[in-house]
Symmetry: C2
Subunit: 427 residues, 2 copies
Amino acid sequence: MNETSVLHAVDAVFDREIAFLSELVKHPSVRGEEQSAQDFMARELAAGGYEVDRWEIDVNDIAGMPGFSPVIGNYDNAVNVVGTLRSRTRRGRSLILNGHIDVVPVGPLDMWKRPPFEAYIDDGWMYGRGAGDMKAGLASNLFAIEALKHLGLKPAADVFFQSVVEEECTGNGALACLQRGYRADAALIPEPFAEKIVSSQVGVLWFQIRLKGLPTHVAYAGSGANAIEAAIPLFAALHDLEKQMNAPQCRHYDFACHDHALNLNIGKIEGGDWASSVPAWCVFDVRMGLFPGQSIDELKQRIEQAIAEAAKSHAFLAQNPPEIVYNGFAAEGYSLDEDKRPVAREALDALGRAHKFVSGQELEKEAITATTDARFFGLYADTPALVYGPKAEAIHGFNERVDLESVRRITQSTALFIADWCGVEEL
Amino acid sequence: MNETSVLHAVDAVFDREIAFLSELVKHPSVRGEEQSAQDFMARELAAGGYEVDRWEIDVNDIAGMPGFSPVIGNYDNAVNVVGTLRSRTRRGRSLILNGHIDVVPVGPLDMWKRPPFEAYIDDGWMYGRGAGDMKAGLASNLFAIEALKHLGLKPAADVFFQSVVEEECTGNGALACLQRGYRADAALIPEPFAEKIVSSQVGVLWFQIRLKGLPTHVAYAGSGANAIEAAIPLFAALHDLEKQMNAPQCRHYDFACHDHALNLNIGKIEGGDWASSVPAWCVFDVRMGLFPGQSIDELKQRIEQAIAEAAKSHAFLAQNPPEIVYNGFAAEGYSLDEDKRPVAREALDALGRAHKFVSGQELEKEAITATTDARFFGLYADTPALVYGPKAEAIHGFNERVDLESVRRITQSTALFIADWCGVEEL
């Protein structure tokens, strides 16, 4: 096997890869609705000669594990799929190829140029919710292996292809894979960070603030009794905390040049029932980042303090103390860059070589301001997790899209990386 | 007939009145769900010897009429009920007894001591959504007539008992009664204003402000791109307008002593889809008051100006101009006090005498900061509309309740007023 033949093999299977990706995007796998996408995935893996493990996550199995996030709603139909490709020779190092099947909500449909699950291609981009984040990555994982097969080869070590749910709100899908016993010498997660390697990622905490008060007919509306408007000073208090946490002296070293790595987002709000009733309730959902090494519990304390402080000096809130509920992400930060063990350096070097062969460039590092499932492998299973995927735009936005030539390059680098890391054996 | 016998007659039917009110409160007649309550009403009227007219409102019939408010949702099942009690002699003045069957939403159930449609009695109060606003009024209208019947009498002029929908969001139910041809020499509406007569009422305009923008993954959240937080400067701009409109020099004479008659209420909000996506949309519903004599169109212009002005100097809003949608109330103010015609003075005097006989007190006037259906009779049908009803608490709030002894007194005054205004004839 030479490297160039691997690139050509990816070219040879690339039409099939695009067709696969297109089909995958057409499954609208928002939270709770991932089953049809997972069925498709399981079928494709079985057809490709993988042993398929498909199971429903049981919260009780994972609730006590480090990295667990409190669960929103129920887990009926929260289904993971793992395909195992066993090596006969086991000469090389084993590998987890991980990707998440869940996609974020589409938002108002009229803000999309075309329906979000159409998976149409325009000018070299495939459009659709999840096209970039991260169904292209799942496709790339699968077709890197297909390319090797096209050459009559397969990895000379066990490879575990994981298609997990819940990446976008808790990470409990990847955690359930750990609980089920899946382990390998390294993990690759092709999240769409534009062909860079993620050196560090922030943590993420989700919380909900609930305000309740005593409503009246609007005819008797006094100032300060409005639960919707009472949220405003809380927004301000939270943004103050955000500012403090982003101060230069508070940053993780890998984020030293990021002026604003930790974003606080008021992502969702709902309140009141009737234009002419003073609203008695308001609920809003917040996402806050934290640096690798920072403690979730400490962040919770700071949030609770900031909210309590703001409530004290506000007529409505002092009478009606806000309730803070944690549901969804309780995710620590993770820095691959801090993993100085040989296995981590070797994995990075192997990926760097593959990347350079495909692109002609050194592999650039990036400290990202989002979280990924990499933390589970890195923090809780001593497994270096390489986050390296294609270029995408408008992820979580409207007209989300992924650059197909970038997908091709990532598939090529991935195939080369697998051949290097795992070695190859005859099919 | 002497006055005291009328009071006793109300006492004699009062147990039945409470039973009727209790049954009526148990029908959860929120908008779109008024049918069972109206069915009950129609049955009771038919049983009481009224000719019953029950019809579905057709928006096309009323859309061109003055006082029409734009409609939220559809009008399937928007049903009015009018019972006509014809006089043989027609010696007196005819009368409309009006009340609305619709109630506002209940809000979060856990904020109610007991379920909102249980209609339980505690310490002389009947509790329940709509108990005060205004099913007690409907009961009082009906049992004032029942009390006369108890004496072997009925009104000596045609009486139209109206049970209308849509009072709480448009007033189109009362408007549809006008369109259907119902007219009388006066109207009585027992809205729960604590046994006072409403001398003037404000107008009400409802509008919705819709914000849309371009969302991104929260990892790339810049400040100012959040559609939820972009609502805050608009709240401020609207409250500025509210302040201007309440300035002493801007007040209607009957509200001269009201420091804050025109309440602007941010009553409902919704925005965003996901804690970790920068929200691309936010919608909020506003209620604003206006004085009698002020024009709806002029108020709309001022609102549009205030919103446009605020948007100009805000990064997000300048790029994503807010949309203003008018749905629901476009209600002018109404002042009975300004109606100097003899018919209005006579109606007021008759009610004043009845009130004084029952309570021993002069009838107090009140300029109210809410609207009622009185405006349709007063402004668009030259009919003096007397708004005079029982004492209630927490209307539009939790644990809404009505004072049953107050309901008794209002029923007594109403019976006396009918006997005076319409005269009586043998059953």
